[in-house]
Amino acid sequence: MSAKSVSRRDLLRSLAIGVTAGSVLNAIPIEAAEHAHKLIAKEKAVNPTGQYAPKFFSPDQYKTLGTLCEAIFPGDADSGGAIEAGAPEFVDLLTSENPDYQLKLGGGIMWLDSTCNDRYFAHFRGCTARQQKEILDLVAYRSNLDADPSLSPGIEFFSLLRNLTADGFFTSEIGIKYLGYVGNTHLKEFAGCPPIPEA
């Protein structure tokens, strides 16, 4: 047990005893709670330990995964991209625990590399930027199936990866800031709604 967690427990105990004297309820007052909440969040937070070691994808595949995630949500003037947001780590972690994802995403990356080999004589990351765009433009839209049904595995793969990359990006610190979510805090009063623009 680390000294840190003991101190938190002590803090919470002292808060609980101090302010609820006269009450038998296990509650802590809001001012103290604000402090305690921050401490808890800090202690429960994931401790980043430098370089992430992929749990499912091979080192090469993991690089491809990163390239794809970043292509889905790239950095721009408003924010960093999917790699900075930790999306590849998130996707790899979930895939390592989910046989269905292993099939769809693991198999999907293999499909992508084979297809690139057939078309461009190089795996996806070995392709030129123009070639990469060409193949992504094919797998990123279901309507392309009409012209070429053989794209189906790539389209299914990309659709799942796009959803998971969105999860990874928009649940990150930079993704949440990019969306403009304001909250997860302590308010004395809830202000309600600013004027709603006309439809």
Binding site: V24, A45, R142, I176, L179, L187, C193
Partner: protein, 568 residues
């Protein structure tokens, strides 16, 4: 044969389960002077350690998607307060062929009050006399007037916000002021006003003013994660502590009740339970027993308590234990509101769950179905979460900066709606003991049988129509998955999914057709009570928790009175 360890003492009352019913009974009985022991099948709860309140998704490695991303595909929530489960390893249940039933169980002090939506609605007078009104189902042996004083007591003690509205189908209570509307509430309210649908402030067990040492809500919108300030109601934080403060309360955790044992006089005399931490069987002796393990778990305990006196299970001479199982009729839809794309960034969190709702408003006319429903709604600029961008990604497709911007402009533009309506009991919906399956403690498990009736399907259809009408009146685009799924007509959820399963040991004035009397006391055994959802006769469109607490409070006062008379 394992040695059975007997408890050295006889308690006044043994309560099985620590949730809404058990917690309420523990408080009332101990404060009334009785010595109470409580069995809880899960571990103790330490809010400061166990709650994920105020964490960000990026504080968790799975970001809220849970192990393997299962929160994306199943009814799970990684942020939820601890130990509320759809599946419990080693403690299965089964569904009969052709039936699909889901059973949410909590294994933690406070039970499902740690996880519930805090919606606190009173049953209306007509809900107790539904059979007299429309000829379907049965009446309760008690009336609204019998329970009203206990609704008052519960609301005054736990704290419920709301407004006086004088709506016959949604009786007013003792209310704190409601929080101001969110943007999404204003949009729905305006639309409802246009098309003649009633929309009023919600009634929620969340404090908007301090009460009994509990501070008011701090509007983080995370009630389901558990509240460190106990500003919302949970049994673990609001009912159990006062019981403990009396010095007459013993709480035994990780104690899985197996059987209620009957003595020579035909009275219940002990509960046999498994101490999960040592895997040993133990017994607790008491003068009276109050089942509060949840409707189905209490029914399971009764059905598993077989003896020569009660060959079909305890208190089951009527044969109706496990019968009359109902859940709420539930179906969902949502609207996309383009004008919300232009909303400035602002704090939209509010209280956990809804600020306003649509109570049953068509009680004054003839409908295509019997009984009623209400509609819950919410959405807008909440904390971003996994799965929240699936829809825009699937609709827009593509990739790159343009998709990223589309996601940003679509964020917070959806309002989700859920209908919650009354199911009328039918003979196809019940639970019994699966003769072939035991759990890891050796206790035979429940088997569920389920089939929605025609009335419920028609009601779900009407819910979809209402939700669509409200969304369209508000200038939104309605979407619902209800049409694509033949297994779920009009999107009706599988039995149990709404987590309002009740009725498995219903009360009634006739001992041949009911298990309990109006005080939740078994007709067959006077020192046995069941005060959880098992005792309900109807499953009105009111989330049952508030009524469970009122019934348990009333049953507990009756037990105190019987104890004073020396009848325990």
């Amino acid at each position: 044969m394992a040695q059975v360890i007997r408890s050295p003492r006889v308690y006044d009352v043994c309560i099985i389960g620590s949730g809404a019913a058990g917690g309420t009974a523990a408080k009332i009985l101990t404060e009334g002077g009785l010595h109470v022991v409580m069995l809880e099948a899960g571990p103790p709860l330490n809010p400061a350690e166990d709650y994920k309140e105020h964490l960000w998704p990026f504080d968790l490695p799975h970001r809220g998607a849970d192990v393997g991303g299962r929160a994306r595909h199943e009814l799970n929530d990684e942020f939820l307060a601890p130990n509320g489960f759809w599946e419990i390893t080693g403690e299965p249940y089964t569904s009969a062929p052709g039936s699909r039933f889901w059973w949410f169980r909590s294994r933690i002090v406070g039970g499902r009050t740690n996880h519930w939506g805090r919606i606190a609605l009173r049953y209306a007078p007509v809900d107790f006399k539904a059979h007299s009104h429309d000829g379907m189902g049965d009446d309760w042996p008690i009336s609204y007037d019998d329970l009203a004083p206990y609704y008052d007591k519960v609301e005054s003690y736990i704290g419920v916000f709301g407004t006086k509205e004088n709506i016959p189908s949604a009786p007013d209570g003792i209310f704190m002021p409601p929080p101001v509307p969110r943007c999404t509430d204003r949009i729905v309210k305006n639309a409802c006003d246009k098309i003649g649908v009633t929309c009023i402030p919600a009634r929620m067990a969340i404090l908007t003013k301090p009460l009994n040492g509990r501070p008011a809500c701090h509007y983080c919108g995370q009630c389901g994660r558990g509240c460190v300030t106990a500003s919302n109601f949970s049994s673990s934080q609001v009912m159990i502590p006062p019981a403990q403060a009396t010095g007459r309360f013993t709480l035994i955790t990780n104690a899985m009740a197996r059987e209620v044992m009957v003595g020579k006089g035909g009275k219940a005399e002990a509960v046999s339970y498994i101490d999960k931490s040592t895997r040993t069987e133990r017994r607790i002796h008491a003068r009276a027993f109050l089942l509060a393990a949840s409707a189905c778990e209490s029914a399971r305990l009764l059905l598993n308590s077989r003896s020569t006196v009660f060959p079909d299970g305890l208190a089951n001479s009527s044969g109706v234990v496990g019968r009359y199982l109902t859940d709420s009729v539930g179906t969902s839809g949502a609207g996309y509101f383009p004008n919300l794309e232009k909303m400035p960034a602002h704090n939209h969190d509010g209280v956990g769950e809804m600020h306003m709702y649509i109570p049953w408003w068509k009680y004054d006319r003839k409908n295509d179905f019997q009984r009623g429903y209400h509609i819950e709604f919410g959405g807008g600029r909440g904390m971003p979460s996994v799965g929240g961008f699936d829809r825009v990604c699937e609709e827009e497709e593509g990739y790159g900066v343009s998709l990223k911007k589309k996601c940003r402009s679509r964020y917070g533009t959806t309002i989700g709606m859920s209908g919650r309506g009354e199911m009328i009991p039918n003979p196809d919906c019940y639970c019994d003991i699966d003769p072939q399956t035991v759990d890891q403690w050796g206790i035979p498990v429940l088997r569920f049988h389920w089939k929605w009736g025609e009335n419920e399907i028609k009601m779900a259809s009407d819910m979809q129509d209402t939700m669509r009408a409200v969304v369209e009146a508000a200038g939104g685009t309605f979407f619902s998955r209800s049409r694509n799924d033949p297994a779920h007509p009009h999107g009706i959820a599988d039995g149990g999914v709404i987590i309002h399963e009740i009725g498995t040991a219903r009360m009634g004035s006739d001992a041949k057709t009911s298990v309990l009397n109006g005080y939740c006391q078994a007709h067959d055994i006077k020192n046995l009570f069941a005060a959880d959802g098992a005792c309900f006769v109807t499953n009105a469109d009111k989330n049952p928790t508030l009524t469970i607490m009122a019934l348990s409070w009333r049953a507990s006062e009756y037990i105190l009175e019987e104890a004073r008379k020396g009848n325990l």
